[in-house]
Amino acid sequence: MNRVVNVMRMQLTNRWIFIGIPLIILAASFLLTLIIWSFIPNDGGVRISGGSQAVMWYFFALGIQSLTLTFPFSQGLSITRRTFFLGTLSLFSLIALVTAVTYWLLGLVEQGTGGWGVGGSFFALDWIADGPWYQPVAFYFAVMMALFLIGFWSATIYKRWQATGLLIAGISVALALVGTLYLIGSRNAWPEVGAFLGSQTQLTVAGWLAILALVLAGGSFLTLRRAEP
C-alpha cells in the first residue's frame, strides 16, 4: 500500500506535469474565452464555449506520457507492474475527481454571476450542469477517466507490441465501429438509436463511460503485466 502511495508521489515529483500545466491550460482557455466574449457585442443570448474540454484532452496526453516514460523508470526502481498501475490509476482518479469538483464549483459561480457578467457558459454547460451536483461531477469524472485510460492503454500496447500492435488495435477499433454502424443501418434501427441517445442523461452517459473506463483499465493492466521497459 505504501508503495502505491509512493508511485503517486513519484508521478508528482515534477508537480508541473499533473498540476501546474492543467491549471495553466484551464486558466488560459478560460481567459481567452472571456476576451473573445468581450469583443462580441452582447445581444442578450447565451454564449457557449467548449474551452473547458482543453484540460480533458491534456489528460489523454498525460495517460500516454505517464506510461511511456515513467513505466521504464519505475522498473529501474524495482516497482512491480501492479503497484505502478495502481499508483498511477489512483493518482489519476484523484486528479480527475478534483478537476470534476472544481468544474462543478466554477459552474455554480458562473450561474451565480450571470455567466461571468456577460451571459457566458463555460463550466455550467446546458444539459451537463442540469440536475443535482453529483450529476455533472460524475459526468466530468467519467469523461476524464475514459480519456486518460485510452491514452494509457494505447501507450501500453505500443510498449508491448510496438507500432504493429497499435496498428492492429486501431484497425480493430475502426472495424468494430464500422460493423456497429453497418448493423444499425442494415436493420433500419437508426430511429431507435436516435431515441435511445435522446433519452440519455449525463448520469447514464457517465455510467456508460465508467463501464468503458473499467474495460480499458482491465485491458491496460493485462497488457502491462507482460510489458518490458
Binding site: R3, N6, R9, M10, T13, N14, W16, I17, Q65, L69, T70, P72, F73, Q75, G76, L77, S78, I79, T80, R81, R82, T83, R225, R226, E228, P229
Partner: protein
Amino acid sequence: MKTIIEVTDLTKKYRKSEALRGINLALEPGRIYGLLGRNGAGKTTLMSILTAQGFASSGEVRVFGEHPYENERVLNRICFIRESQKYPDSFTAEHAFKSASLFFANWSQELADRLVTDFQLPLRRNIKKLSRGQLSAVGVIIGLASRAELTFFDEPYLGLDAVARQLFYDRLVEDYSRHPRTVVLSSHLIDEVANLLEHVIVIDQGRIIMDDDAETIRGSAFTVVGSAEKVRTFLGSREVVHTDNFASLASVTALGTLNESETREAAELGLELAPVSLQQLIVRKTMSGSPATPEAADRTLSEAAR
C-alpha cells in the same frame, strides 16, 4: 552455502535470435560479481530477467529464494538501473534521486549528495539535456546510494571519462566495505574492473563459459614464448587456449600452474614465461569460443592443443 540467485536452464529467444542458451548459475550473498562478456553476449538480457524487468523463454529463476516476477518481497531488495535507462522527460537528476529515495529502504541521501559533487552532476538540468556521461552518472549514483541488498550495474561507465570511472570504482570499493551487499557488475572493460571482483562470470553468445573465483582464474593460465618446437615439448599435453605463431617462434597460452622445477626447466630451455591477465584469458577464451556450437569450440581447442 545459501544462494542469493539461482538460475536453472534459462533461455531467452527473440524472433530471430537466441539471446540466452541454457544458463545455469548460483550466486552467493556478500560478494562482488563480474558479469563479463562482449557487447551483445547476453549480459543485459540476463540481468533483466533476474530483476523481472524482462521475461524468460524457459527455465527457472530464483532470487532470494523466490520468483522475482511481481514479487515485492524480492524486488524491494534489488536495484537495477540499465545502461539505457529511461527517465521521465520532465525530470531533472534531482527528481530522479528524490523518486529513488521513496523506494529504496536503505537509500543514503548523504552518499548521493557526495557523489553528485564527485561527478559534478548538474542537479537542476533537464535529464534530456545531460551528456551520455552525466546520464551514466545518474544511474551510478542511484545504484550506489540505493545500497540495495542486490545491486546490478549495467556497463555503468559509458561516456564517463577516466577520472569519473576511477571515482566510481573507488566509491564502490569504499561503500561496499562499509555496507557489504551483493553487487553484480556487468562490463566489457575487463582490465578496469578485474581487481574489484571476487567472482567472475563470463558469458559469450548466450552461454556461460567461465564461472569461478577471480583469484583462482588469475593463477590459472600462463603464456610461454620461444621456439615453436621447444614450446611444444615443454607444454606436453597441457590444455592450450591460444596459439600465436611468428616465424619459428610461438606464443602459447596454456591452462594450469607451473611449479618451481617447471619454471626452472622453462628458463633452461630459453623459454620466456609471462602471466596471463584476466582480460587476456577471457579474450582468448571468447575468441576460441566464436564458433556457434560448443562442439565446434571444443574442436578448435583440441586442435590448438595438438
